[in-house]
């Protein structure tokens, strides 16, 4: 065993990401700080989910190094790899709960595999984790009987089952209504405050970004565009980041013409109750 695994830093050095011959991202060098919430921001299809899969170790990186708390993820002995996996919790986009198992059994699965706890103790831990995400009454439900937001929360409970040092979330708020999305943000912040964890969130949700981020990495067009804190991001004058944060469209509308911006402005004023 090498390296500290209590909320470790995740250091990426010149990482390239891609499928087969296609390189999606290259030259990513950054440190996702331990014990904080790092948000990886980028447009759809920019490779941010793939980067997350690289950090998890599901997809081998094409070049570069990913070091998690002193452990080089590419060169791990099978025991160390398993040990690292045990200390990582992952929330997949749609929760990725096993459809054939009830919610309680889903959460119990990592415990049954990796611990020697008795059944009654496992049940207790499962109850605790489900209470943490507000799903204590749904132990006997199948994942298909839950709403999308509940499935994501349950996925979070499963990711937390083994009290991980690192929590990685793939678009935790996508496809959720504003209230449920805010719940999710709150939950992530609660977890950060309660447990000593490094949290990495991949998202393109701007409101979620401002709510949870300590550290931001922006990806665009195959490169890392920005790295820094939230205030630094809002002060950044890169045209893509300005456009992204202001939620401006790429194409010019031939139908709406130049008036588009004023139209949107008027609508905003109207909904804000201003004349």
């Amino acid at each position: 065993m090498t390296g500290r695994l209590e909320s470790p830093d995740i250091a990426l050095t010149d990482v390239s990401v891609g499928y087969g011959d296609r390189v999606v991202l290259s030259g990513i060098t950054t440190v996702l700080p331990g014990g904080k919430v790092s948000v990886i921001l980028g447009g759809s299809g920019c490779g941010k989910s793939t980067l997350l899969r690289n950090i998890i170790g599901l997809v081998p990186i094409q070049s570069g190094r990913i070091v998690l708390g002193g452990r080089d993820m590419e060169h791990l002995s099978p025991e160390d790899r398993l040990d690292t996996r045990r200390r990582m919790g992952v929330l997949f986009q749609d929760g990725a709960l096993l459809g054939s198992l009830r919610l309680g059994e889903n959460i119990a699965l990592p415990l049954r595999e990796h611990t020697e706890l008795t059944n009654s103790l496992i049940e207790e831990v499962v109850g605790m984790k489900l209470k943490l995400v507000g799903l204590a009454d749904f132990t006997d439900y199948f994942p298909s009987e839950l709403s999308g937001g509940m499935r994501k929360r349950a996925g979070l409970a499963r990711a937390m089952a083994l009290d991980p040092a690192v929590l990685l979330c793939d678009e935790p708020t996508s496809g959720l209504d504003p209230i449920t999305a805010a719940d999710m943000d709150q939950l992530i912040l609660e977890l950060r405050t309660t447990f000593d964890m490094t949290i990495v969130v991949v998202t393109h949700d701007l409101q979620s970004l401002t709510a949870i981020a300590d550290h931001v990495v922006v990806l665009s067009e195959g490169k890392m565009l920005f790295e820094g804190s939230l205030p630094e991001l809002t002060a950044c004058d890169d045209p893509f980041i300005r456009q992204f944060l202001a939620r401006q469209p790429n194409r010019e509308s031939r139908i709406l013409g130049e008036n588009w911006a004023t139209m949107i402005e008027k609508r905003r004023d109207l909904s804000a109750g201003r004349p």
């Binding site: 011959d21 996996r85 459809g99 595999e113």
Partner: protein, 256 residues
Amino acid sequence: MARKQDDLGVLVGLVSGLLACARDTVNPRHRTKTYLRSRTVSHLAWVGADSLAIVSIIAACVGIILALQAAIQLEKVGAMSYVANLVGYSLVTELGPLLTCLILSGRAGAAFTAEIATMQINEEVDALTVMGIEPVRFLIWPKFVALGLMAPLLSLWADAVGITAGGVFAALALGLSGTVYFEQTAYFLTMRDVLSGLVKAAGFGVAITVVSCWQGLLAREGAADVGRRTTSAVVQSIFVMILLDLFFTALNYSFR
């Protein structure tokens, strides 16, 4: 080309994973976790018990068909009592295992592919890997054990049902004595015939599981791919089964 290589890589990973599971099962020092064992039991029940009715009906029909076909030819040479030999031999060495496993590939194999493909697309397989649970051990090994055991057992059952149905039919409709039929069957069928059929069935069961689960793991995107993978799983299983059948039969013939 790269895609083909990846596909084969998945197959190699699957087979080596299954071999590792087999090694652990034989190893007395290795203790299988109870939750994994109970998965195997539930698969055994699902594959075995739930296929019993359809296998029985088909075996009975085939037994009667064989008795009828044999009677048409044997009547011409006045050797009606040999109906029993023909029915028994073709069922036990060939049709029992083959038909049983055809049903299993359509029933269990297709279900395996669809299940694993859907799980692959929903990232459930990735989730297992991330939790440090080998997908092969958790998902595929129970299916492998279930089909590997149930294919021979169901074939044995199909043999018995088919022979009985052929006998009852011969006694009722063809005017043969039932006692003579069953005595003839017992006298001519050797243990070796039965065993060769069972070995075939076990081979088919293994082939169905490997092909079906492999195709499931290859699924990439969307519901359409689940359908496509399921179709190719059944077609490829049947193809591999027929090739294996040819191989086993030739082997059995050359060593008699």
